[in-house]
Amino acid sequence: MVNLTIDGRAIQAKKGQTILEVARDNGIYIPYLCYHKALKPIASCRICVVEVKPGPPRPQPACSTYVTEGMEVVTTSERLDVIRRELVKLVLINHALDCPICDKGGECELQNLTHALGIDRVDYEAQVLTPHIDYESSLIERHPDRCVTCGRCIRICRDRVGAMAIHFMNRGYYTELGSGVLPLDCEFCGSCIEICPVGALINKVFKYQARAWELEKTETVCPFCGGGCTYQVQTRDGRILRVANQDSILLCGRGRFGFPVVHSEDRLTTPLIKENGSFRPASWGEALDLVAQRFQEIMAEAGPGAIYGVGSPRATNESNYLFQKFFREVLKTNNLDNPGRYHFVRGMAGLMAVFGVSQVDGLAAPAARVPAYHSPYEVTEGATGSGLMFVLGKLADLPQADVALVVGADVTTELPPLGWALMKARENENFQLIVANPRATKFDRYAALSLQYKPGAERLLMGGLFKAIFAAQPDIAPVINAAGLEEFKESFKKFSLKEYATKAGVDEGQLKTAAELLLKAQAPAIIFGTELLGQDKGQENATALADLFLLVGKPGNPGSGVYMAAEKANTLGLLVVGVLPDRLPGFIPIDKDPGLNLEQMLEALETGHDNAPQALYALGGDLVRWLPNRSRTEKLLKKLKFIVVQDAFLTDTAKLADVILPVAIHVEQEGTFFSSDSKLGLLRKALPENGVRPDWQIIMELANRLGGAFKYVKPAQIFQELAAQLPVCAGLAPGHCFPAPGLTAKLSGQFVPFEQDISLPGRRPYTLIVGKSLQHSGSYTTHQPCGTLMVTPGARLKMNPEDAVALNLGAGETAKIISSHGEITASVSLDADLPPGVVLLPDHFGEPAANRLTLNSNLVRVTIQKM
């Protein structure tokens, strides 16, 4: 600790804090303009100057002067006032006087500063410059005449987001914020808007809607990826006008501009019942009665297993918990699963094979009373835990990793917060990034090593990497207690390192370098996501990466872990609360009569097996849209006698349903999500429901009609019941991850050999990767009037310009894409990031439906023709 005085007040501060931070923590106001808590100080505006003793005779910037023992700081004096006033006057010389029409009015730092310093006139004149106002770009409007050249936007874009889309142009008095090209070509995350102290950057979605002081603010969780960012929803008159993250400022484009989905015109507002092939509106009572009646009839005929449940990663833990409870306790079947079966569940299964399921032992009995959304289990001394959750990395720790290996993931697209964590990790000088991906991605720019392998060859790449590691260090001993290393080594006998390299399409030397980096690492992080897990052998991919972590991972060191990106907000939560055919809440295995998983269920339907279900209850989970081989899914679902879909929109699966129950979405409901790094996020209700209902209420009503006795008044009660079944979440509270840091990890692992092959059959000339778009999450953000649509209004087939020339295709032209399973047409965009022979199509939009082409994987060989 450091003792100092600020304005005569004795204050204790932490070593390494700056004067400004200490003053702020102690409620002492020091004005500033270029400083922001989310950024490193650059001390360029000099408005935060303070008198420091002992020190130089001139005032020092408080934002970049560290506190020292015995320091005496004076924050207000006549001299300081004169300096600050003078500096702000210089800023104000040609500042546009359009506060009345400037969106920032009322929350403008320059306005506040001018007021606080009592500046009523500017005594200088200077050449008036013509501002280059940018009205042209999507979502973001730029007014250089309001800019104070603090550089906050440039720094957040460069250092935190990593997009480098804006920069200062010209110099001196003529300095102006610019982008080089118009319109702006960036990630459209809007973080620059949020961090701008003035109105130089304006949010076009929010523009002219309201003044800051008119807005009601609710803290909740962003629903547009598995990152679990908390943000503030700002509403007026029952409408969201904007969202903001006031801590780190960072939000991605879908987070910042995707919220209008709540107000989308095409949302379902009343239950629908299908009669003679078309839907008619119905009352809640009628719809629920019909569902209960049909379920009863079907169960009477074919037993409880005839009803199959699909949980939803957009629904809360409470709703999903109640969903599985409804199936298990009321319907008495384990026939339920979740759409993560085709990606995230595979990842967890791979990790589970190597590290075992998570459990926690030695806890005291649960406490009877705890605050809402807290675990009743206290982390007591001596409590131990084991299994995969202890190797699952936490985003907050990732910046402490010293080597990160990203495999098959376009990080920012899959999970924007993961990208920010990597940007933060880069601040550590020793940090080294290895990016392995068939195509170039954003993080290649920051990578020490880029391994561009052939699509689908990740397991051969991993084989080569293991081979290189074993060659570099034959007597390697994993930090984690591991079994089966010798047999595991044997599994790489088949090929030489050179053969692995050739087969994977990379350079032998690169594999050696990657192996060296990983072996040297004190806190290696392994990162992958849905794109890798969405392959038919996704689980094998995850096993290979889990094996790698078992070999080189150092789970005791912060930052070292396996980071798995989930596309949707509550993908992990589904697993934790037991929306699985073979596991109860808390990963507890079911030995007796496990249900069918989603893949088995569809197979049973296909073969017409006895155990095939006859009815489907889908809590969201648009199977037709998201599962590979769309025509098969459609055909099989049509075999069902009765389908109930609970969703906010008339999705492709909902179109096949007999009853549709409209649900409340994120800001209309209370509850919790588990982010993909296991952080508990608390959703708070900010808007009324307008006729729709939260999932848990619908499930409860249905359960009670079928003989259940669910008596919940609010989601917190459900959480309380759920948390009592989750010792693995001991010590959990909103904003915290599990397992709690106080638990002693007793990790052990088992090396599991993986299949070393390329699973990409067929002879067609191009490989299609069904991927993701940066601006979209699932299909929610594709509904008007989401701001994200202004940037990415539809799915385009991305291809290398050389391929386009060979196919005689130009940007914007329509191509026919043909696979063995179907054909679609899509408009083409050129992207040199894709290697020749590889094309990419995002799957968020209904048309073109990428999954018409796929069989069982997100990779497929295709033929492309000009239309």
Binding site: M164, A165, I166, H167, F168, M169, N170, R171, G178, S179, G180, V181, D185, R445, A832
Partner: protein
């Protein structure tokens, strides 16, 4: 259209790393008399420098120009000494004679006129540079003679 061979010839002299940005831009400026847009895009890709940074550098330094410059660059000094010795009058005279404003290029693309802060030869004020050549004690009556040398 971009002349790829011409640009590649310039880029081939360097390592293709971000630190080559300024020398590459200087070479382009020398050869093209300005920095064409397409070339800047290509330089950004080839040197792995964000396009915005390329533009930031290109607009920061006075030696670079995003609009085509004339065959000859006139730099008139307005440093303290030159200012006192009538630099401003020199600027007015040159501009009048060429029919162009400071910062612009004559219609025939022969001359671009700019003012600079100091040319480092204050003893010879007022000073003017045409391309790489210094002209000392340039009084207004010498202007036409100098310009004729380049016409």
């Amino acid at each position: 259209m971009m002349d790829e061979a011409r640009l590649s010839a310039i880029l081939s002299r360097y390592d293709g790393e971000p630190y080559d940005l300024i020398p590459v831009l200087q070479d382009i400026q020398d050869q093209y008399n300005y920095l064409p847009k397409d070339e800047l895009h290509e330089v950004a890709v080839r040197l792995k420098v964000p396009l915005t940074q390329v533009y930031s550098v290109a607009t920061f330094y006075k030696m670079f120009s995003l609009i085509p410059k004339g065959k000859h660059q006139l730099k008139i000094c307005l440093g303290t000494t030159c200012h006192l010795k009538g630099g401003q009058r020199l600027v007015a005279s040159v501009c009048n004679r060429l029919g162009v404003e400071v910062g612009y290029t004559t219609k025939d693309r022969q001359f671009s006129v700019e003012t600079v802060g100091c040319l480092g030869t204050c003893a010879q004020a007022p000073v003017m540079m045409v391309d790489d050549k210094y002209y000392a004690r340039v009084t207004v009556d010498k202007v036409s003679k100098i310009l004729k040398l380049y016409a």
